[in-house]
């Protein structure tokens, strides 16, 4: 099927299939799924500027499905999401402006592709290390104290990085706020803004909702419980991807037809993924997340090496 806006030819069922997988994984892990959708579109031969803009559009629709599901499950901290919105929008605009600058020369695919690979590999390596440490720590605790800990609630969420989150929560720059839904008594407004700005920047620059940055940052840096981080991240993705879609569409980087087709598969996948989070505990969700950025990185490497990109 020809997608005239981006000038590409893609099998619509392949797009629906990719959408379904991305939706399923995104709903489960609380990320937009751009670490797979973006590389997949690039692999289909879509020019990088359209990959970034179109991926953002598809993510908006998909995240609405998953966020509504997570809201029903009580996994969204609306106060945190509302504050993060300001940093996110500023970051998205800065990322989109950088794409505009890169569009003027021939290196956009290489620069965005390599940045993507570096980010995805770093996240995967870091989360593997952290989840392994957390599970090891948990096992030692169980061995020391015996049976009762095995029966811990799935909502209890140990992390090997809890001490870093505690330090960031004690950051002194006012104003300070409390986040009762996330169990945080006091945190600087600016810590939240910085984390959301970085997430927004990668959303505007690499496409998608940048949940692969924001979700781990919320858990490890802000100390948000994994289940709340998953739901709130999806809420935030709607804001960042919505704004990103608009600004990229104005700049001619969105093939909405591709996004609509892909989203039909993503909608059902997201619904299933969000329901499945109820059956898994925090560290195990994080551990299962690890291979996904690696797959995304492999697809980008394949796209760059086989010349699937446009100059």
């Amino acid at each position: 099927m020809d997608f005239l806006i981006s000038g590409t030819h893609i099998n619509p069922f392949a797009l629906i299939g990719v959408g379904f997988v991305v939706g399923l994984l995104g709903g489960f892990f609380g990320v937009g799924g751009s670490f797979l959708a973006g590389p997949a579109l690039f692999g289909f031969g879509v020019p990088m500027n359209f990959v970034v803009g179109t991926d953002l559009a598809h993510i908006v629709g998909k995240s609405i499905v998953a966020a509504r599901k997570h809201r029903a499950l009580g996994n969204i901290d609306l106060r945190l999401g509302g504050i993060m919105m300001f940093g996110t929008i500023g970051g998205v605009e800065m990322g989109a402006q950088l794409i505009q600058q890169l569009k003027k020369n021939a290196y956009i695919d290489i620069v965005v592709g390599i940045t993507f690979i570096v980010i995805l590999l770093s996240i995967s390596a870091f989360m593997a290390w952290e989840s392994w440490r957390t599970l090891k720590m948990h096992r030692n605790k169980v061995a020391r104290l015996g049976e009762p800990l095995i029966a811990e609630s799935k909502k209890q969420d140990p992390s090997a990085f809890a001490h870093i989150a505690k330090k960031i929560q004690s950051f002194g720059l006012p104003p300070h706020i409390s986040l009762p839904a996330s169990g945080i008594e006091r945190i600087s407004f600016w810590s939240i803004i910085i984390v959301s700005f970085i997430g927004g920047f990668f959303s505007g620059f690499l496409g998608g909702g940048a949940g692969y940055i924001r979700m781990p940052s919320m858990i490890y840096l802000l100390g948000i419980p994994t289940h709340i981080a998953v739901g709130t991240d999806l809420f935030e993705i709607i804001i960042s991807a919505g704004y990103g879609t608009f600004t990229h569409a104005l700049k001619g980087n969105v093939d909405i037809f591709i996004a609509l087709v892909m989203h039909t598969g993503a909608a059902i996948g997201a619904q299933i993924g969000a329901t499945l989070t109820q059956y898994f505990a925090g560290p195990r969700i994080r551990l299962a997340f690890i291979p996904l950025p690696l797959i995304g990185a492999a697809i980008v490497v394949y796209g760059l090496l086989t010349g699937q990109h446009h100059k």
């Binding site: 005239l4 806006i5 619509p12 629906i16 559009a57 598809h58 908006v60 629709g61 998909k62 995240s63 609405i64 499905v65 509504r68 599901k69 919505g242 879609t245 608009f246 569409a249 104005l250 001619g252 969105v254 909405i256 037809f257 996004a259 609509l260 087709v261 989203h263 039909t264 598969g265 909608a267 059902i268 619904q271 299933i272 329901t275 059956y279």
Partner: protein, 81 residues
């Protein structure tokens, strides 16, 4: 596999089949007619295109979410009966 998880997977499988039929119909009927109009907007009225693009994806997100939720509810109710 736990009976509870087995039941969830069964519901999702039925939902998936019904949803696939509905979406393929929607895809060929509705999106086919929008193609030329969107292409025209993209080249001639970029601001309108940006607004329409965002509205379309949000609208589709809400409609499909309602559809998947309704399907799941109907399937669960059918199983309980």
């Amino acid at each position: 596999m736990k009976p509870e998880i087995k039941a969830v997977f069964k519901s999702f499988s039925i939902e998936l089949v019904v949803y696939a039929v509905l979406v393929v119909g929607y895809f060929f009927l509705v999106l086919h007619f929008l193609g030329d109009w969107l292409y025209h907007l993209y080249h001639n009225e970029r601001k309108t295109y940006a607004i329409v693009a965002l509205a379309l994806i949000i609208g589709q997100g809400i409609v499909l979410e309602s559809l998947t939720r309704t399907l799941l509810r109907l399937i669960r109710r059918g199983r309980e009966d």
